[in-house]
Every structure is written in C-alpha cells, then in structure tokens.
Amino acid sequence: MSIFKRREIPVIITAFSGFLMVIEYFFTIPLVASISTGIREWASLIAAFAVGLGATNLGIIHASRVRHRRENWYLSAWLLFVMVLMIIVGIFGTTKHPLYDFLFANVYSTVGPTMWGLLAFYLASASFRALRVRSLESLLLLISAILLMLLSAPIGGIIPGVTVVANWVQNVPNTAGMRGILLGTALGAIGLSIRTLLGYEKGYLPE
C-alpha cells in the first residue's frame, strides 16, 4: 500500500495541527503563534485550490453527459459553457471587468435571490402539509410557530398581547432550549474533535 494511503499520516498531520491550534488559543507563545498562523494560511490556500477540484469534478461529470448524449445533455453543455465563460472573464478580466460586472449584476445577483424566493413557496406547501398536530409536542410547535410568525410579521404587533406572549416564547423557552442544545453541541464537537485528533473517528480516512 502506498505511503500516502496510510491512515497514520493524515492522523499525525491532523493531531499536530489540532493540538497546536488549541495551545495557540490558550497561551501566548510566539513560536506556536507563528506556526499556527502558517497552518491557517495553508488551510485557506488548500481550501481555495479545492475549488479547482470541484470544477474538475463538475467538468468530468457534465462532459461525460454531453459526450454520451445522456438525457438533458444540452443543459450540461450550457453549464460547461457558462462555467468556462465566468472563469475566463474572472481570471483575465478580473472582478472589475465590465462583462464580469454585467454577468454578476444581471445574472448571478438576480438568480440568487430568486432561488431564495422559492423558499416562500416551499414554506407555504410545508405549512399546509407538514405542520400536523399529532401530539402535545407538535401542538406546542404549531402554537409557537404561529406566535413567532405573528411576531415576525409587522402586522402581528397590532394584535393585543401577541408581542408580549411571542416575545416570552422567543426569549424564555426558545432561549433556554437553544442554550441547552448549544451546550450539548459544544460538548459533542469537543468529543468529535478528540476522536478525530486521536484517529478514532475513521469514516473519512483511507482503509
């Protein structure tokens, strides 16, 4: 087996980087601070380079669809065309190029909010279909949802008592529940981190 496929190497790198970050968070040690800064910059760079990996993955899958004339292959061809166009304009023209600016303002920044707008429709169908009162807990969920929707809707403020009750739901039971979950989540993250740093969490590691 290749040395790069061994589990020990990623575990050692993870443990070294992870423990260094923990030390840097609590203590002022110039050497550790400079090494951890370097590791952070590496992490940002690797993440940035991974975009190329994503583009390659996307390119391979969609080029294969076009080549084999699979169903809706022309949509894959359109995706590849737009992806290449944005890459060329972004790299050679930079983000200040008029064509990049035009595509950003008229395509990207209009399509993005439109996708978010879809959520209003999904929210409507989910409210009709999914918020069923099957138990006392789901009844409480529905009542809380209605109160908080009234609180979020500006008009809710004119219904007497709604703001007071909804604010109480938001500030007391909601905050208490959120804090409990946050505490559990933080402890869960610490536990997972320890398992990862010690190499016990193996799901992402090569066999």
């Binding site: 800064t37 952070r40 992490a43 940002s44 993440a47 940035a48 983000t95 600016d101 950003f104 303002a105 990207y108 920044s109 993005g112 909010p113 996708m115 978010w116 209003a120 429709f121 929210l123 409507a124 169908s125 409210s127 009709f128 279909r129 999914a130 918020l131 069923r132 009162v133 529905l142 949802a145 209605i146 908080l148 929707m149 009234l150 979020s152 809707a153 500006p154 008009i155 809710g156 403020g157 004119i158 703001t163 604010n167 938001q170 500030n171 909601n174 905050t175 959120m178 804090r179 946050l182």
Partner: protein, 276 residues
C-alpha cells in the same frame, strides 16, 4: 364507488401544490404593487441597536463585517443602507470587510444607494474586500489588521489609506456590526469574547431564534432582523426606503402561512373523523 373521494376534505387534502404556490405569489405581489400601509411597530432589539449606534461619538471607528450570500442580500440590504446612512450622518468612520466572495461587489452596489454626505473614500470609509477562511480570517484580522490586509478592494495598499493608519487590531474599533446570513458565534468568539468589542447583528430573519441567547446574555448589544428590522431602522433614522415598502408583503405572507398551517390541520382532522 368510494364516496369519500368526493368529500371536500378529501379534495382539499389532495390540493395541487401549485394552487398553494399561486396563493403565496398573490399574497406577496399585491402589497408590493399597491402598498397597504400596515402599521410597523419598532421592536426592542432594533431600538437597542439604533440607540447604541446613535450613542457613539463622532469620529468613532466601526467595523462592518459582511457574510451574506448574493441570494439573501435583498433581505439585509435595506438595513445595510440604513445603518451606513446613520453612520455617515454621525461622521463615524466605517471599515468594511467581507468573509464571503460576493459581498465586496454587493456592498459596492449598495453604497451607490447611500447618501454619503460628502464623506471621502479612504478617509471616512473603506472597502477592504474579501478574505477567505471564515473564523481563521476573523481571528487573523482581529489580532493584526495590517498582517492580514495588504490592499483594499481596489488594490490600493492600506498604508496609503488615512483611515487605516490608527487601526491595528480589533481593539481599535468602537463597535462591530455583523451583517450576516450565517452563525454569529465565530464573530462573538473572535471579537466580543477575545477583545470585548461591542457587536450589533444585522441578520436574516431565520437566524433570530439562534441569536437570542447572545442578545439576552449581552454578548450582542442589538439585533436588526431582516427586512422588517431594516424597515424599523429606516423609520428610526427617519429615512423610509425599500424596507418599509416590502413589510406589507411580509405581513401578508406570514398571515397566509398561518392560515395554511391551520387549514392543513383542519382538513387532516376532518379526514381522520371521516375515516372512522
């Protein structure tokens, strides 16, 4: 023939989702075309944010950190326009930094809609552009601004920008405003917990329940939620804008959601009774 199939409750239960979508479309469209002028009470969280910003003396330095994708920008834009107008009107210096790639371009477009009251770029405000790495970048910026940032969004070395001369670390800011559509915890850790800098959140409405513990614990001094918060802030600075015109749609949309969730349950129970 199965008679239950003809019952109204059966028909309603199998309601085509597109009818629901159409109802939502109409509920949102009508108030945008013809504003209904529904009342807009100011919430405590927005008032707290406004009062804190308003209490800052002229010449204070504020960091406006952005992490809102292009899709959600319209939800926070009215609030962003309002807060920038408020800051410029009080001659407060504004440093803008983005934790996402889209935001520097988006904020540039938003700034064209703000009355800058004669304020100069590089002297009174600056757009530092995008820095990758999220919490890693936040920590690096908070610790050593000049260590992370070498040039602004336009490529000007920051040594050449007068506003950046006295800003070395997070400690040099009087307030951090986080315009966000993501979790606030990383900013709380890197600015509030680490340096004790007060923070105000301008967030999308979906994040409000998650941010409440930080507001009640005093880790953020105010919160301006989504379009509604933006509209409230516009009213507080007495400059009604795009936020105020869309709050009617918000009200009607939420009312429809409430009606649908009650209707869904009524139909579900009718069917249950019918089946017995």
């Amino acid at each position: 023939m199965d008679e239950t199939k003809n019952k109204p409750s059966e028909k309603m239960a199998k309601l085509d989702a597109r009818i629901i979508y159409l109802a939502m479309f109409i509920a949102l469209l009508i108030p945008i075309l013809r504003p209904l002028g529904l009342p807009l009470p100011i919430s405590d969280m927005t008032r707290k944010a406004y009062e804190y910003v308003d209490s800052l003396p002229s010449g204070s330095k504020v960091l406006l950190a952005l992490h809102v994708s292009v899709g959600l920008w319209p939800e926070v834009e009215p609030g962003t326009i309002a807060i920038l107008s408020h800051l410029f009107s009080k001659s407060i210096k504004v440093v803008i930094i983005s934790w996402g790639a889209d935001e520097p371009v988006l904020v540039e477009s938003t700034l064209t809609k703000v009355d800058k009251m004669g304020k100069q770029y590089g002297v009174d405000w600056v757009n530092l552009g995008y820095y990758a790495g999220m919490e890693t970048a936040m920590a690096a910026f908070a610790k050593d601004v000049h260590g992370l940032v070498k040039r602004d969004f336009y490529g000007t070395p920051i040594e050449n920008l007068p506003i950046m001369k006295d800003i070395k670390s997070a400690k040099d800011f009087n307030l951090v405003i986080y315009d966000t559509a993501s979790d606030i915890a990383p900013m709380i850790r890197q600015f509030v917990a680490a340096y004790g800098i007060p923070m105000v959140a301008f967030c999308t409405i979906g994040w409000v329940p998650s941010f409440m513990p930080y507001l009640t614990a005093g880790q953020i001094v105010g919160m301006v939620p989504g379009i509604r918060g933006g509209a409230e802030y516009e009213l507080l600075i007495k400059r009604p804008g795009s936020g105020a015109t869309t709050t009617d749609a918000l009200s009607l949309g939420f009312i429809l959601l409430i009606v649908l969730s009650i209707l869904g349950n009524v139909i579900w129970y009718s069917r249950k009774i019918g089946m017995r």
